[in-house]
Subunit: 432 residues, 2 copies
């Protein structure tokens, strides 16, 4: 049973604020362990990777080899069913097309004074993609993380994935091939992150590391940040569904459960202006829970973090939605456009009754790596922009320098930076 | 005396690698102190700010008031010389014009299937700008951090600045007025960062915190990250000058010293293909050092971290420059365009002999907040993009859902996520 919050009740603001600040994640303090692993990989390289993989993943990389060979990827593709391969290819095509529109353009121009100014975008030289092992090893995530890098023109995309018991999910390898991943290594955990950041005999270092992982992987990413870039540290997933009473309660219940089944920290929130509809959804959730393969996870996260918020009218949902700043926001209402323009904070918005969030997870074309835990207030989902960087360019001739020099010299002196002033004045042949 | 590295010598790669990994910063472990301050501000609010300001800044905020009043800003503007005000206004105008070109455009479209896709950009609701106190309190930095927020359309830009001994640099207040800062509070350190992140009775919380600061401020920003967004944690500044022998050695020496005077961790590197020119620059540095107000700082950072790298030819400088990935890169050569296209990693490039880096610090129009410590390999300078976030939008009707459903359902089942599959299939009237 999820909690109910009613806007009309006197303690709503207090209860809503408390709800907003609920922590859904216990982050174990694994920093010391992770630091030791990183130091060891920096010192011993491949030998450390082999040792940790034997211990944590029960796999003998000394004989299997660190790098996954082309013929192994061939075999994985052959072992993946045709309909999954077709679905991955369709998804890849749609993701690639959508992300191609995100590629920023260089902007080089001269202003009225003749000063050359500009922004030039270049791809990151090499990117490492972490893929979790076991049941959280999702081929769709491989596409979502690797394809924007390919679109950005990253020359080298390296994937690491732990081979628990020697096995890597074949569909993950197939997705990597479809997404144009350049190299795959069967290593995971903090040791894989260390190898990507600092390099070993076999794995050349990258400039940026992306992708989800457990507490050890997250801690390792934080620790190597600076040496390399990292993407956001994703928290548990969440969905906010704003729905009027003219929805089929079963559809909305299914959407809430799609989120809840992810993991124990997942959060599903329904905002509605109709109490009876809210109750109908709640009953539909209970019914559907009985037939889910992951019903235990879904039931638990719905009970712990699920919520039904009853608002006075749909317009009242907007300020709440902006404070929640959900990763995923569904607008299942008769006139979604009336709400759409009022949403400022959301990772992705799914518009109308026929756009379940799951379409965005797989096949819509937009990215499914999105800001969690209210961070949509200040950050964006993964995009091509995460794989490029901008260099500014400034170009002056003697005339432009003469025009701008006085202001630069004035400001330099006012900040007490004499050498700054001289670096400009000396070029005016007026001495230092 | 800076070190010399010669590409022609046998141990160059080894020495260059060691040079690249030189740490220029000792980060004190202030995490425990900072955590206590943050917790205290969260608990006691304004009262904690008043206590810490009395202790660290020797200022009585209970009587002065936390917020800087409009008439105080009026007085600061009146106390700033006309030529400094004019220079700040010219800088602001140029910065604003340049940054207006960075504003990303929404992209909403329908694909061939009729699926609505899109990216919508919105400004961050509220931004906090940290400005250091004392000698590092630079009005130019206020412009560089605040104006892109204004261009982005951030409704609320809050500045915090410690008032050591009760005083805030008048030019900093004048710059804040020129840059359109909405609120100014005379509080600094970890306590100011905590107030911006969590709010107090007087200071409403923001969604993102930017701006430079000391070790306490940097640690506080790291600790509140997640609650709010933060910009990069900037390290000491650096310049790489690629110069041929046809430069005036005094000009290049002045550029190296403009960087070196910043602080003890600053780094100035000359790459040249002419030994005699390198020696002439070295001598010019020694001469100019004698007449600088900050000669002690400049001499020390030049001695500790300065370098002259002698390359075989100018083209050989490109791979080195890409590995150094300097914050600032000057191309003081006869044909800068021949090198420009080969540079992949640099925060900003200053093209030709008449573009000293200092122009970019103040008046060029581009931003002077740039990636340090080799992070230009994976990150960019501050821009309008740091003050906006992107929401993706997906919109399907029944036909589009029917077209994409099979692939989504296939992938959901292949990942073992039954509720995901049901959330799509239930809308096809084929049951769960």
């Amino acid at each position: 049973m999820a909690i109910w919050l009613e806007q009309a009740s006197g303690d709503f603001e207090e209860r809503f604020s408390a709800f907003l600040s609920t922590k859904r994640e216990v982050s174990d303090d694994v920093n010391a362990v992770v630091k030791a692993i990183i130091d060891d990989v920096r010192t011993r390289g491949d030998a450390a990777l082999i040792d940790y993989s034997a211990r944590f993943d029960k796999v003998d990389l000394a004989s299997a080899g660190l790098r996954v060979r082309e013929e192994e990827i061939d075999a994985a593709v052959a072992a993946t069913s045709a309909d999954v391969l077709d679905a991955l290819r369709l998804a890849a095509e749609r993701i690639e097309k959508h992300h191609a529109r995100q590629m920023p353009k260089d902007d080089l121009y001269e202003d009225a004074l003749g000063v050359g100014l500009g922004s030039r975008w270049t791809a990151v030289d090499a990117v490492g993609l972490y893929v979790p092992g076991g049941t959280a090893s999702y081929p769709s995530s491989v596409l979502m993380n690797a394809l924007p890098a390919k679109v950005a023109g990253v020359p080298r995309v390296v994937m690491v994935v732990p081979a628990g018991g020697g096995v890597v999910n074949p569909a993950v390898l197939a997705a990597a091939r479809i997404a144009g991943v350049s190299e795959i290594y069967r290593v995971g955990g903090a040791q894989a992150v260390a190898a990507l950041a600092y390099g070993t005999e076999t794995i050349a270092p990258v400039a940026k590391i992306v992708g989800p992982g457990n507490a050890y992987v997250a801690a390792a990413k934080r620790q190597v940040f600076g040496q390399v870039g990292i993407d956001m540290i994703a928290g548990p997933s969440e969905v906010l569904v704003i729905a009027d009473r003219d929805n089929n309660p079963d559809w909305i219940a299914a959407d809430l459960l799609a989120q809840a089944e992810h993991d124990l920290g997942a959060q599903s929130i329904l905002v509605t202006n109709d109490r009876a509809f809210g109750e109908a959804v709640e009953q539909a959730v209970e019914r559907q829970l009985k037939t889910l393969s992951r019903s235990q996870t879904a039931a638990q996260s719905w009970a712990d973090f699920g919520a039904i918020i009853l608002v006075k009218d749909l317009a009242s949902s907007l300020p709440l939605a902006n404070r929640i700043a959900a990763e995923h926001l569904e607008l299942a209402v008769a006139d979604p456009d009336a709400l759409l323009s009022g949403i400022r904070n959301a990772g992705a918005i799914f518009v109308g009754r026929h756009t379940p969030e799951v379409i965005g997870d797989y096949i819509g074309g937009s990215n499914h790596v999105l800001p969690t835990a209210r961070s949509a207030r200040f950050s964006s989902g993964l995009s091509v922009l995460d794989y490029v960087k901008r260099t500014s360019i400034l170009r002056l001739g003697p005339e432009q320098l003469a025009a701008l020099a006085p202001a630069a010299i004035t400001l330099a002196h006012s900040e007490g930076l004499d050498a700054h002033a001289r670096s400009v004045s000396i070029r005016l042949n007026r001495g230092g």
